[in-house]
């Protein structure tokens, strides 16, 4: 008779319309509990696992999840699946370290739960839903809980397993709020992508714990809305730089205008005031220009350092670097002031006993 009842329950679970999925998770839980109560353990385990597998908006509440895990523990004990029962009980302890099964459960179930409590790390992590923060100015908060006061380290790690920032190192006494301001260890905003808050035990001296071997992980996804930044200016082209060593071409370029100007100045009276008796002043100036050109010619001889050109090039480079740094700084400010969206996922606990 009971078998027919459970078969009917399973069949009805399979036929629950997709549009009623949210309701069906709790319905599955109720059906699983009922199956346990009528000792149809195989079907009950299947129903409870399905209820626990629901995700997103359809997922069970924390209380519902705890209830499902407790009944699944009891179901697995009843099915003589002790190892599986221990794993489920640890999940329950991870979810809520302070959860206690009531006395209506058989002593064997209470014993399994107590064993799980003894061997499980009994730490929990709770995160808010999707959170938008301004990196450096606001924080993303998670709550670590434990009833055994372990010493732990909490790191934000990237997908490659490298530590982005250590956000907590100390003892969890009951619970502790851990805040992350969205910046890495260097004060920069990390790139968008998948990260993880990883909590691991450490011994009292600050190193990794030798005996307790567990890792609590909270996956988080970081998204950055597009920020309007200014492109960095390109480096000045070679054509803008002056030669820093003299060459023949430069020498000739210095000489030619001087000679032309010198000759022109000397000849100006002939062009402008033909027939006038010109003074010697033109010879002074024309001669000075020509001599200056000759001096410039020799200052440009091949291989000769040209300090003026070196200074000019240095100024050109420094101006470009200053502009680039200023724009990079402004872009960084804009990036910092833009909001970062942090989407936490479901936490998981990995122990040495986790298959």
């Amino acid at each position: 008779m009971n078998r027919f009842l459970v078969a009917g329950l399973v069949a009805s679970a399979l036929l629950v319309p997709l549009t009623a999925r949210a309701q069906s998770a709790s319905a599955l839980l109720d059906q699983g509990v009922r199956a346990y109560q009528v000792r149809e353990y195989d079907g009950g385990a299947w129903l409870l696992r399905r209820a626990l597998a629901a995700e997103g908006a359809d997922a069970l509440s924390n209380a519902g999840t705890a209830r499902a895990l407790l009944y699944l523990t009891a179901t697995e004990v009843a099915r003589n699946q002790r190892d599986s029962a221990l794993v489920v009980a640890r999940r329950l302890i991870l979810l809520d370290p302070r959860y206690r099964p009531d006395d209506t459960f058989p002593q064997a179930v209470i014993a399994v739960y107590q064993e799980a409590r003894r061997t499980a790390p009994s730490v929990s992590i709770r995160a808010p839903g999707d959170t938008a923060i301004r990196p450096g100015a606001e924080t993303f908060n998670v709550r670590l809980g434990s009833s055994t006061a372990p010493d732990v380290t909490a790191n934000v790690m990237n997908a490659d397993g490298r530590v982005v920032r250590t956000i907590f190192s100390g003892t969890i006494r009951d619970s502790v709020d851990v805040r992350w301001n969205g910046l890495d260890g260097s004060g920069n905003v990390p790139a968008a992508g998948r990260y993880m808050i990883v909590v691991t035990p450490r011994d009292r001296r600050g190193g990794a714990a030798g005996s307790a071997n567990w890792t609590l992980r909270l996956p988080i996804e970081i998204a950055r809305p597009a920020v309007d930044t200014t492109p960095l200016p390109p480096a000045p082209p070679d054509s803008l730089f002056r030669p820093e060593r003299g060459n023949t071409q430069g020498a000739v370029r210095a000489l030619i205008p001087a000679v032309i100007a010198g000759v022109a100045i000397v000849a100006l009276p002939k062009v402008v005031a033909e027939g006038e008796e010109a003074s010697q002043a033109r010879l002074v100036v024309g001669g000075a220009v020509t001599i200056a050109g000759i001096v410039a010619f020799f200052s440009h001889h091949p291989g000769q350092r040209l300090p003026e050109n070196e200074q000019y090039n240095r100024n050109l480079r420094e101006t470009w670097q200053r502009n680039s740094q200023e724009i990079a700084r402004r872009n960084a400010d804009r990036q910092r002031q833009s909001r970062m969206i942090i989407r936490p996922g479901a936490p998981s606990l990995v122990t040495s006993e986790t298959p």
């Binding site: 002056r242 210095a254 030619i256 205008p257 001087a258 032309i260 100007a261 010198g262 022109a264 100045i265 100006l268 009276p269 062009v271 402008v272 005031a273 006038e276 008796e277 010109a278 003074s279 002043a281 033109r282 002074v284 100036v285 024309g286 000075a288 220009v289 200056a292 050109g293 410039a296 200052s299 300090p307 003026e308 050109n309 200074q311 000019y312």
Partner: protein, 217 residues
């Protein structure tokens, strides 16, 4: 003269793609103090006098990417050579020119210039409108450069009542920066202008030394 004016007009109509490649794209200015010696040869009918004397003046320029404005003022007293009966003259001269940088090395200018002096009770004033072409070349970039400027009168008058006048002129020289980063330049210049009207001709030469603040064009 017509040839010179035609050349100036042709340069002024250079296509727009001939652009200045100046280092700075912003407005800047230069100011200069000028000191020098001027030599004037004055011909009235067939009488020629030669006068010399010091010259003091100032110059200012406003320079944008392509356009420029230049004003210059000078004054001095010139005296005849020993033995001459000609009177000394107090001379003032000035100009206000508007220029465009046709190429990085060539600028074109237009504007009025005047030269006036007093002989006894009478004033003599030359007022001319001229077009100019000014070329520059760097001997040591940023440190030393040379320039030559040629100009021709396309309209002018002298005296009261005014009679038509013409003429031409030129100047050239050398500019040197006092230090690699200095804002001050020194300029050694030579200028000559020859103005003429009916029965009159004046040729003035000047050797000048200037201190310029700011980067010359």
């Amino acid at each position: 003269m017509k040839l010179l004016l035609g050349a100036l007009l042709g340069l002024a109509l250079l296509p727009a793609q001939v652009r200045a490649q100046g280092e700075g794209r912003r407005l800047h200015f230069t100011v200069a103090g000028i000191a020098g010696q001027q030599i004037v040869q004055s011909h009235v009918d067939n009488v020629t006098d030669r006068l010399t004397g010091p010259l003091l003046g100032a110059e200012g320029m406003l320079i944008s990417d392509r356009l420029m404005v230049r004003v210059r003022y000078g004054e001095g007293r010139i005296k005849p050579e020993a033995g001459s009966t000609t009177e000394a003259r107090d001379i003032v001269s000035g100009e206000a020119l508007f220029g465009v940088r046709a190429t990085p090395w060539l600028s074109l200018w237009v504007g009025p210039s005047a030269r006036a002096y007093t002989i006894g009770e009478s004033d003599q004033r030359w007022l001319v409108w001229s077009g100019r072409a000014s070329a520059r070349g760097a001997l040591v970039p940023g440190r030393m450069q040379t320039y030559v400027e040629l100009w021709g009168v396309f309209s002018g008058s002298v005296g009261n009542p005014a009679i038509k006048a013409g003429g031409r002129g030129a100047r050239g020289g050398l500019e040197m920066r006092f230090g690699a980063q200095s804002s001050f330049w020194g300029r050694l210049g030579y200028g000559i202008e020859s103005l003429h009207a009916d029965g009159l001709r004046e040729t003035a030469e000047a050797l000048t030394l200037s201190i310029v603040f700011g980067l010359p064009q």
